[in-house]
C-alpha cells in the first residue's frame, strides 16, 4: 500500500519534471520554419500597375520564384535592394515584389532611384493578402518552386549569405 502511494508520488514528480523539461526547452519565439515544405494556396495578389490579380500561371512561369514583400518607407528594404538587383540576373529565377501598405508615388520613386529588380509587381495596400503568406513584418521573402512549394523563407533583409543560399538552391535544378 505504502509502496503504491510512493510510486504514484514519484510518478507525478517525474511527470512534472518531464513537462517542465519539455516546455522550457521549447522555442517559444515565432518561427516560420513550419511553412517550409508547404504548398502555397489561395494566391491572391493585385497587380501594382493594372486593375487585375496575378494568377498562378504567372507564378509558375519560371522554375523558381522569389516573392519579396517591401515598401518605400521600410529602411531594411533599401539595404536588401542591391541583393535583389543581383538576383534579378539569375535566369532560373523570377522575382515578384509585393508593395506592402505603401503609397504608389513613393513606391515608384523608390524603384526609379534604386532600380527595379522585379519581374512582376504586385500591391497589398491593406496588408491583408500578406497574411496568406505568413508575413508579419517587412522585408520578408519566400522562395518557391513552380509547384508553389515553399523552399525557404527569409525574415528580414536578404543578406549576402541568403543570396548565396538562393543561388545554390536554384542552380541545383
Amino acid at each position: 500500500m505504502q509502496k503504491t502511494i510512493k510510486l504514484i508520488i514519484v510518478g507525478i514528480f517525474i511527470l512534472i519534471v518531464g513537462v517542465f523539461y519539455l516546455s522550457l526547452n521549447k522555442n517559444s519565439n515565432y518561427d516560420t520554419r513550419n511553412l517550409v515544405g508547404k504548398k502555397l494556396s489561395e494566391i491572391h495578389i493585385e497587380s501594382f500597375y493594372e486593375d487585375k490579380y496575378l494568377t498562378n500561371d504567372i507564378l509558375k512561369k519560371n522554375n523558381f520564384l522569389l516573392i519579396n514583400f517591401w515598401a518605400s518607407w521600410c529602411s531594411p528594404c533599401r539595404t536588401e535592394h542591391p541583393i535583389l538587383m543581383k538576383l534579378n540576373r539569375e535566369k532560373n529565377l523570377s522575382i515578384i515584389g509585393v508593395n506592402f501598405k505603401d503609397k504608389k508615388s513613393n513606391a515608384n520613386l523608390f524603384l526609379k532611384n534604386l532600380g527595379n529588380p522585379y519581374d512582376f509587381l504586385a500591391k497589398d495596400e491593406l496588408g491583408k493578402h500578406s497574411i496568406n503568406f505568413g508575413i508579419y513584418g517587412i522585408p520578408e521573402s519566400i522562395l518557391i518552386n513552380n509547384d508553389l512549394l515553399i523552399l525557404k523563407k527569409f525574415v528580414g533583409p536578404l543578406s549576402t549569405a541568403d543570396y548565396k543560399e538562393i543561388k545554390s538552391i536554384i542552380i541545383k535544378k
Binding site: 502511494i5 510518478g11 513537462v19 501598405k101
Partner: protein, 121 residues
C-alpha cells in the same frame, strides 16, 4: 399602426442581438490570437500594425461565414500554433492537456487507497 411599430421594434431588437453576439465572438477570437510582434499581448490589446492587419483579416473571415475554429486553423496554418493562446491538442502537446486530469485521477486513487487502508485498520 401598432402592428407596424411592433414589427419594427422586433426587427430592431433581433438586429441588435445579432450585432452584439457577432461582436462578442469577434472579441473572443481577438483575445485568443497572439500578437507576434508584441511582448505577451493578444491582438485585442495591441495597436501594432500586425495586430491591426490580423483583425481586418478575422473580420473578413467572420463576414465570409467562417467559424471560430476555421479562423484559428487558417492562422495556425500560416503562422504555426504559437499564434493561438489556446492551441488544439496534438501529438506534441497532449501531455500538457492531459496533465490536470492525470493529477486529478492520481489524487482520487490516493484518497481511495487512504480510506481503504483506514477501513482495514
Amino acid at each position: 399602426m401598432k402592428f407596424k411599430l411592433l414589427t419594427l421594434l422586433i426587427v430592431f431588437f433581433l438586429f441588435e442581438v445579432h450585432a452584439s453576439s457577432s461582436n462578442v465572438e469577434q472579441n473572443q477570437i481577438f483575445k485568443n490570437i497572439r500578437c507576434l510582434v508584441c511582448q505577451g499581448q493578444s491582438i485585442a490589446d495591441s495597436n501594432s500594425d500586425f495586430a491591426q492587419t490580423i483583425k481586418l483579416v478575422i473580420k473578413d473571415k467572420i463576414k465570409e461565414g467562417k467559424t471560430e475554429k476555421e479562423i484559428y486553423n487558417f492562422l495556425i496554418e500560416k503562422y504555426g500554433q504559437w499564434i493561438v493562446y489556446k492551441p488544439p491538442m496534438n501529438g506534441s502537446n497532449f501531455l500538457f492537456w492531459l496533465f490536470p486530469y492525470l493529477i486529478f485521477i492520481a489524487g482520487g486513487v490516493v484518497i481511495i487507497m487512504f480510506f481503504k487502508k483506514k477501513e482495514n485498520n
